[in-house]
Symmetry: C2
Subunit: 66 residues, 2 copies
Amino acid sequence: MKNNIRVQRAIKNITQAELADLIQVSRQTINTIESGKYVPSTVLALKMARVFDKPVEEIFELEDGD
Amino acid sequence: MKNNIRVQRAIKNITQAELADLIQVSRQTINTIESGKYVPSTVLALKMARVFDKPVEEIFELEDGD
DNA sequence: ACTAAATGTAAAGTATTTTTGATATAAATG
DNA sequence: CATTTATATCAAAAATACTTTACATTTAGT
């Protein structure tokens, strides 16, 4: 699973902390997801997609290992 | 989080066991997700979306509580 | 260079997801 | 009806997601 949350944040020009607030998780959760340390739940993925106004598939992408 | 996995399975005419095989999880995992007992990871959501050839948003939907 | 804001990281704990195995019920088919 | 196939459920363990607190590092602006 890779993601381009950093890019999407850049487009919207919001910080990790702001995104965390918007989807009601801790800042560290955003940070660790963003840096690929773990895969978020579908609820978080949908919330991010909603914030960024992009389909989930455009933010999260399956990789070979998955 | 609600989902319409059962409907999507019906459209493709596959069993829980077959879907489980296709996305490499146990049959129980499909069953419990399908019956709303828990929220799957984004990896599972993306895999299902791929199997059903539908965007994640069309299979999983956020609810008020989420 | 100094400062403040943003990001990275770590440890410890809680909560949730997923698996496995077993069993039960329901639905479909001969 | 009897048998097979599909779905539901349960309990316990393993794995993973998420929180909190706290501190270190990087980045950007002045």
